[in-house]
Symmetry: C2
Subunit: 142 residues, 2 copies
DNA sequence: GTTACTGCAAAAACTTTGCATTATT
DNA sequence: AATAATGCAAAGTTTTTGCAGTAAC
């Protein structure tokens, strides 16, 4: 179970653009959209095409080099992977800071629930959003 | 905690179009996209504009009348609510059938995890995808 | 009669694709 | 030199918006 086929990762040459994209994701602890990363690269003086950024982010995510996160509105965001195993994110909606959460308990729960309902080959999406401690203190609430 | 402000739900008049949209979501056990629902309505002879379907689905979801589900690729799907409380979905990727899962355990786990990391006002996204029993039997696997 | 909804079509936002050019191995 | 990546711009998708007309209360 769970044998991952090698994703179709073209884009394996080590080009300046690929390095730039990778470096950009490593330079920020936040998950960011393709467009944001592209803008950042341009601002930093890197000349990279938007399509190229799209291609590399997809490729890198497919290879497991980057983590992806889907916002509630459906945007796909990218960030460098911090850990190997399967994990989830606790994202501060105010500052964007992310805490990785080991999902063992949840995985077990999911497995149970799936079996109980006769499902197999189960995958899932799971993200948590909230207000981190620092932001709670900083931003007074009405 | 968790006091929901009333969403800005305009579209409160009971019009033929609103009824049609609502009826359509009730006529199918599956989560469907706005475009799919619009197409279905048109096929059924209902004259409804696409923008109107978008507006009503958003409105109804905001009011809690419809459930939403986000696919892995970011599409937002709608279906009539089956239960009041907070719950999650186990979606068959083959036939689209959905099983609602009470999320009490998971809610508790999330609460714990959030507190442990100093987060407050936590919300989450969580969906499970798999192959249901019927489809597993039906579709032979390589 | 007033207010809100509808539909169209235009616009907006985002992502993918074709192809000639350029860089990498 | 051969092969793959790049960049641009065009095309493809999906969702939102403006506004005149229409329906609901």
């Amino acid at each position: 179970m769970g044998s991952k086929q090698s994703p179709d990762s073209r884009q394996s040459h080590s080009t300046r653009q690929r390095q730039a994209v990778l470096h950009s994701t490593r330079s920020s602890p936040l998950f960011r959209s393709t467009q944001e990363i592209h803008t950042e690269l341009r601002s930093a003086g890197e000349s990279v095409g938007l399509a190229t950024v799209y291609r590399h982010l997809q490729s890198l995510a497919g290879e497991g080099v980057l983590d992806t996160l889907q916002t509630k509105k459906g945007e796909l965001l990218y960030r460098c992977c911090r850990s190997d195993g399967h994990h989830h994110h606790l994202v501060c909606e105010h500052c964007g800071r992310t805490t990785e959460i080991d999902g063992e308990e949840i995985e077990a729960w999911i497995e149970q629930a799936a079996i109980r309902h006769g499902y197999t080959n189960v995958s899932h999406t799971f993200e948590m959003f909230g207000l981190c401690d620092a932001c709670r203190r900083g931003s007074a609430k009405g």
